[in-house]
């Protein structure tokens, strides 16, 4: 799991380069002003590429925080 967390952090950091590791771990779409619909799409694309998986478009709206992405990856 630590490796998975690290990779997910890297994904988030590529989309939100100004956030610290701690800020990323607590990030939600609501708490971060720069997290817009475009960021969600880009995040999903980066995560899909990094973890070689396909995120169901219907699940995407619920992936609205770092923790949500993390839990999604654990269930996969």
């Amino acid at each position: 799991m630590p490796d998975q967390n690290e990779r997910l952090l890297r994904c988030f950091s590529s989309v939100f380069p100004t956030l610290t590791e701690e800020e990323i771990e607590n990030a939600t779409a609501e708490s971060i002003g720069i997290w817009d619909s475009l960021s969600t799409v880009t995040l999903a694309a980066v995560v899909q590429e990094e973890f070689d998986l396909e995120i169901d478009p219907e699940v995407l709206p619920s992936l609205n925080s770092y923790q949500a992405f993390r839990e999604y990856l654990i269930t996969r």
Partner: protein, 578 residues
């Protein structure tokens, strides 16, 4: 490139002082990751510029092109897809695919293509435009099985093909080669329907990456190489001339040596587009002459200059060819079937591209030819390209008659029957742009221009653009010099002046200055001079007419020029394009 890497590159802070490269990316879909990949690839390919990419209004590709103004960007990139020709060819619109509707789609596509063509023809006059034709598959809208082309599909492909073909003739438009795209992005994996439905971005990540890479390479527009030096035995032909004899060497299917014929055919096509071809072969000179008289040889003796055929080292031959061409080693490719000879030449000329001719591997030969095409390919073939070899031969004849490297005497110059043609204000001249951007030795300041900057500059009516063409009794050198400056009262401020090194020692440069003083009626020329690592010949010339100090601003009065200029013997003709 992976998206995460592209994002990192785009976000990394650029070094200061970079020249901005402004690009408008026009596409009917949201540009999203394509913009990221394009920017990342440009940052990697062109580390000396800072790309700034703007996207047009989402969903209105044609409107974006029609509203485009040349002051907005240095490049316009158009990523066309079928849905730009008619939205019903995309998945995001539900306009119907019944047969009557398909006929209407074709009519609308035809009219959209016409609008795109006329808009791009206007834009590309001032702004270099890169066009990517539809890369995504057509939707399953047609009545035939997928393996069978329907008339409507063929009609749509004809419309796209005609649009592409008609635009390809415009000098300001570069069209992305669909074959090059297919090689790095398989058509079956280009479309991402989920992404299209979700965000309006239809490209899979791999296709966005491939498209971004190719578009960036189209913008980079690498300067083509100028000359190729080739071996003969087991290269131009199969066999060893000295052992097999003139009739024993071959390049045909019967003798399993067809690829040598393909290589000859390829070299001949390069020569026809102005690439210099030289031969460096350890061989018997009379046998080589005899071999080149064979009627079935696809490479003419006329296409090759010079022939270095003897038993001395290849390094010596290559050095002599470079001197005859007066071209630096970094513009040359050397080809030989012997890995040892290739290694030897590579060591002596590290900046030269040296390749082994893989004589027994047809696929490798084909791959080599593809590489060479990429290295020598040029956006357009100019008249000067066709003249280059003749011009080099002429320069060679001049050198041997004039007693070079000594300065030619007045008597010799008078007898040369030289004619200089000055053309003033021919602003669509592509050769002028090419000369300015590739000339090093006789160059006022080493300044280079992007195509858009150059077009913008010369479209300013206050700029004086002068091009110079030369010929004498030894032959024509073609268009060899370009001057660009601004007239201010009785002064000319010269900001660009280049002259091909082939034209040295003919006093053409003096005649250029005389032209400015006499024909423009000015009393002083101000030179925007800057020393560069390679413009020594220009510095020497400037000192000879303006005095030893080259501190800015360097200026020259008409009286000083008259005192310092040598006697000139050229016949002058002037053409002015108002």
């Amino acid at each position: 490139m992976k998206l995460i890497k592209a994002l990192k590159i785009v976000q990394s802070p650029p070094p200061g002082g970079l020249r901005r490269l402004r690009i408008l990316l026009a596409c009917g879909f949201t540009p999203l990751h394509l913009q990221t990949f394009l920017q990342a690839n440009l940052r990697v390919l062109m580390p000396n510029v800072l790309p700034e990419i703007k996207a047009g209004v989402f969903g209105d590709l044609i409107g974006n092109i029609e509203k485009f103004k040349s002051s907005e960007a240095d490049f316009l990139i158009v990523a066309l897809e079928w849905s730009d020709l008619d939205p019903r060819l995309g998945i995001r619109r539900l306009g119907g695919w019944r047969p009557q509707q398909l006929s209407d789609i074709a009519i609308c596509a035809e009219s959209a293509a016409k609008r795109i063509r006329s808009a791009l023809e206007i834009v590309s006059r001032d702004t270099t435009t890169i066009l990517s034709m539809p890369t995504l598959p057509l939707p399953p809208a047609f009545a035939t099985r997928l393996i069978q082309s329907s008339p409507q599909e063929l009609q749509l492909h004809r419309i796209a093909g005609q649009l592409c073909e008609s635009l390809s003739a415009s000098p300001g438009i570069r069209i992305l080669n669909s074959q090059a795209m297919a090689e790095i992005s398989s058509p079956a994996s280009r479309y991402d329907i989920n992404s299209d439905l979700l965000s309006g971005f239809p490209y899979s990540l791999s296709h966005a990456s491939a498209t971004g890479e190719l578009l960036a390479r189209m913008i980079e527009n690498r300067t083509p190489l100028k000359g190729l030096i080739t071996d003969l035995d087991d290269t131009i032909w199969s066999g060893i001339l000295g052992e097999d004899g003139v009739e024993g060497i071959s390049w045909n299917l019967d003798r399993h040596s067809q690829m040598h014929g393909v290589y000859q055919q390829f070299i001949s096509s390069l020569a026809a587009t102005g690439v210099l071809i030289g031969v460096a072969s350890k061989n018997n000179v009379s046998l080589v002459q005899e071999a080149f008289e064979r009627k079935d040889l696809l490479l003419s003796q006329e296409d090759v200059f010079p022939f270095e055929v003897h038993w001395s080292s290849k390094i010596e031959s290559v050095g002599r060819i470079l001197r005859a061409w007066n071209i630096s080693a970094d513009s040359i490719v050397f080809i030989d079937d012997s890995p040892a000879e290739v290694a030897e030449v590579q060591t002596a000329f590290p900046e030269m591209i040296c390749r082994v001719f893989p004589k027994s591997d047809s696929a490798a030969i084909l791959a080599l030819l593809r590489d060479l095409r990429d290295l020598f390919g040029k956006p357009v073939i100019t008249e000067e390209d066709m003249l280059r070899l003749r011009s080099i031969r002429t320069a060679g004849a001049w050198r041997s008659e004039s007693g070079a490297p000594q300065t030619p005497s007045d008597e010799f110059l008078r007898s040369a029957e030289a004619r200089i043609f000055f053309e003033c204000g021919y602003r669509s001249d592509n050769r002028a742009f090419e000369l300015v951007n590739k000339t090093n030795q006789f160059n006022l300041n080493g300044r280079r221009y992007s195509e858009s900057d150059w077009r913008r500059l010369i479209s300013d009516p206050s700029e004086v653009l002068l091009t110079v063409t030369y010929e004498d009794k030894f032959g024509a050198l073609g268009k060899i010099a370009v001057l660009l400056g601004k007239r201010r009262g009785d002064e000319v401020h010269l900001q660009t002046w280049v002259m091909s090194c082939r034209a040295f020692s003919r006093r053409i440069e003096h005649q250029c200055l005389r032209f400015l003083f006499v024909e423009l009626g000015v009393n002083r020329i101000i030179f925007e001079f800057a020393p560069t690592a390679r413009n020594g010949p220009f510095q020497d010339f400037l000192k000879s007419v303006a005095g030893p100090s080259l501190e800015a601003p360097v200026s020259l009065t008409k009286d000083t020029f008259s005192e310092n200029a040598p006697e000139l013997f050229h016949r002058i003709e002037v053409n002015v394009n108002a």
